[in-house]
């Protein structure tokens, strides 16, 4: 089984090919160029390098959100177009969950944070059980950093933070933390399509996939206009 992983929820653009549990290729760029210009050329490149023709792809694992609305849609529309053309299913993978999944086997609580603007981060809390099972302790959600720290402080365990929310919030985290905190090194500090594809495989085997037509991003936030309307 060949899974194409796609990740474009934030600044990082990443694509990967996972064949029967073996990562054939991964291409990750953490740079300012727009995903519209990078994502498909990157997919083209990993297919070319691994002599893969698109028709060989069995499923597309897409990092579904939360994240930049535009970034999510570029990834989503790319995955939907591939799914439509290849008539293959999409696997919707929670972005924050996939970030934590790349820290496989860690004994810490895993807490990815993505800068969500408006004084919030997109975050979630995860851990790996003794038998290696990936456990969601707190589902991904937008949250103020203060509230997140209250939650992890109450858990009384060492927490590993990662994600693009670390640079702007590291000082605040150290200030508020009543538990030991760690920050992930660069190679596991951003979104990676390899983790999206690998978690996608777990979901696929559990029957959690959908048609390309049905897929939609998980924004976890309303548009500004809807928020204004609700407030009226």
């Amino acid at each position: 089984m060949l899974i194409l992983g796609i990740e474009s929820a934030s600044l990082t653009a990443s694509v990967a090919l996972l064949q029967d549990g073996r990562q054939l290729a991964e291409y990750t760029i953490d740079y300012k160029k727009t995903h519209s210009q990078t994502l498909l050329p990157m997919i083209h490149e990993i297919c070319r390098m691994t002599e893969t023709v698109p028709a060989q792809i069995d499923a597309i694992a897409i990092s579904a959100g939360p994240g930049s609305f535009t970034g999510l849609r570029i990834g989503s529309a790319t995955a939907k177009g591939l799914g439509l053309a290849l008539q293959k299913p999409l696997i919707s993978v929670p972005t924050v969950g996939a970030m934590a999944y790349q820290c496989y086997g860690s004994r810490y609580l895993l807490c990815p944070i993505m800068d969500a603007r408006r004084s919030q981060v997109y975050t979630g809390i995860y851990e790996f059980a003794e038998d290696g099972t990936f456990v969601t302790v707190m589902d991904q959600t937008p949250m103020a950093i203060e509230e997140l720290l209250e939650k992890v402080n109450a858990m009384g365990r060492t927490v590993l933070f990662l994600g693009d929310g670390v640079p702007p919030y590291a000082a605040r985290i150290r200030e508020l933390a009543a538990v030991k905190v760690q920050f992930a090194p660069s190679f596991m500090a951003r979104q990676r399509a390899g983790a999206v594809a690998a978690l996608g495989q777990v979901y696929y085997e559990a029957g959690r996939y959908e048609s390309a037509a049905d897929h939609r991003p998980e924004y976890l936030r309303q548009s500004g206009a809807e928020r204004m309307k609700d407030r009226q």
Binding site: Q37, P41, R73, K80, G81, G83, S223
Partner: protein, 340 residues
């Protein structure tokens, strides 16, 4: 014999998610439009973020329906075409990413199309005899252009709006008199009950280019008229106001077009864009063209509104010229006409 060219075209530049299959640039095999107008009406205009979300939700179904109605498979398509500008960037990006992925997965060539070139090409669909050169008046919610179409895909812009597009002025005036969104068709309907000569509104001239348009002064004059009447406690006849406003817009559009016809000795005039559906504009241009022995071309209202069939028509001529876009094609919200 030349092989037939089938183009799957995708359009998502504003608030319509659309896909079509077009044969040889002129024959529409399907033309599916999923309009979001109901939701945007709640907000009194197009909300870009909502438009982009709706495109993402609907795009696959719309494309699948277009193929099904054409009775064709993706495999049978010659090329994939998509609008890549101008328009709302978030909305454009959905169609662009989708089209690129489909082209990549099927190994088909990708042709990016300018939205306004699409509107102009809508005329080719219903008028098989129409060939460049001709003059075209493009009027929509986002654009007001008087264009010389010198050849397929070769344009000279004679005039453009300096401020509001004609359709934008319709929307703003409609909102001011409580008709709601979208303003174009609502003013058109209301104006039928009113007297176009009841109120005299200014027709702005642009000093340094006689072909350029300006509608913001007219819009302000209407708003001032309303404010003044309100302050004086006078009743405003909405139908007369709508008719007089529309008359002012139409007369400016018609006079500019006729000036162009005269200067360039054009024997063909076409109209395009959402406002090209306006019944008063169509009637007046018809009349003026007839007087001058100029052939007048106008697409049916369904092809004036944003649709993908027009994108397929424009794409055909680009495809034939050898235009191909790469996997790095980006959405360009302010793409200029004739630019590649």
């Amino acid at each position: 014999m030349k092989e037939d060219v089938y183009i799957l075209a995708i359009e998502s530049s504003c608030d319509e998610t659309a896909a079509a299959v077009v044969k040889n640039g002129r024959e529409v095999l399907s033309n599916v439009i999923s309009s979001q107008i109901d939701i945007h009406t709640l907000y009194g205009g197009v909300v870009p973020e909502i438009a982009s979300r709706k495109h993402t939700e609907r795009i696959n179904q719309v494309i699948e329906q277009a193929l099904e109605e054409a009775g064709m498979t993706l495999e049978e398509m010659t090329a994939i075409a998509v609008t890549y500008g101008p328009g709302l960037v978030g909305a454009l990006l959905v169609g662009v990413a989708e089209a690129k992925a489909i082209a990549f997965a099927t190994g088909k060539p990708l042709v990016g199309v300018h939205h306004i070139e699409g509107h102009i090409a809508a005329n080719f669909i219903e008028h098989p005899e129409l060939e460049p050169p001709f003059l075209c008046l493009v009027v929509s919610g986002g654009h007001t252009h008087l264009v010389r179409v010198k050849d397929y895909g070769v344009f000279e812009i004679l005039g453009r709006t300096r401020d509001d597009a004609a359709g934008e002025a319709f929307d703003k005036v409609a909102r001011a008199i409580g008709l709601g969104y979208p303003g174009g068709p609502k003013i058109d309907r209301k104006a039928k009950e009113g007297n176009p000569l009841a109120i005299t509104f200014p027709r702005a001239k642009v000093a340094d280019n006689a072909y350029d348009f300006s509608f913001s002064g007219l819009k302000s004059a209407v708003l001032n008229y309303l404010n003044h009447a309100k302050m004086m406690g006078e009743e405003v006849n909405d139908a007369d106001l709508a008719a007089s406003f529309q008359h002012a817009v139409v007369e400016v559009l018609v006079s500019h077009a006729m000036e162009g016809v005269k200067e360039y000795g054009a024997d063909k005039l076409a109209i395009a864009g959402g406002v090209a559906s306006n019944t008063a504009l169509r009637a007046r241009l018809e009349e003026e063209c007839q007087k001058r022995g100029v052939a007048f071309y106008r697409p049916s209202p369904i092809l004036c509104t944003d649709n993908a069939a027009m994108i397929g028509a424009a794409a055909y001529y680009e495809y034939e010229k050898g235009v191909r876009h790469g996997w790095d094609l980006n959405a360009i919200p302010n793409l200029k006409l004739g630019e590649r």
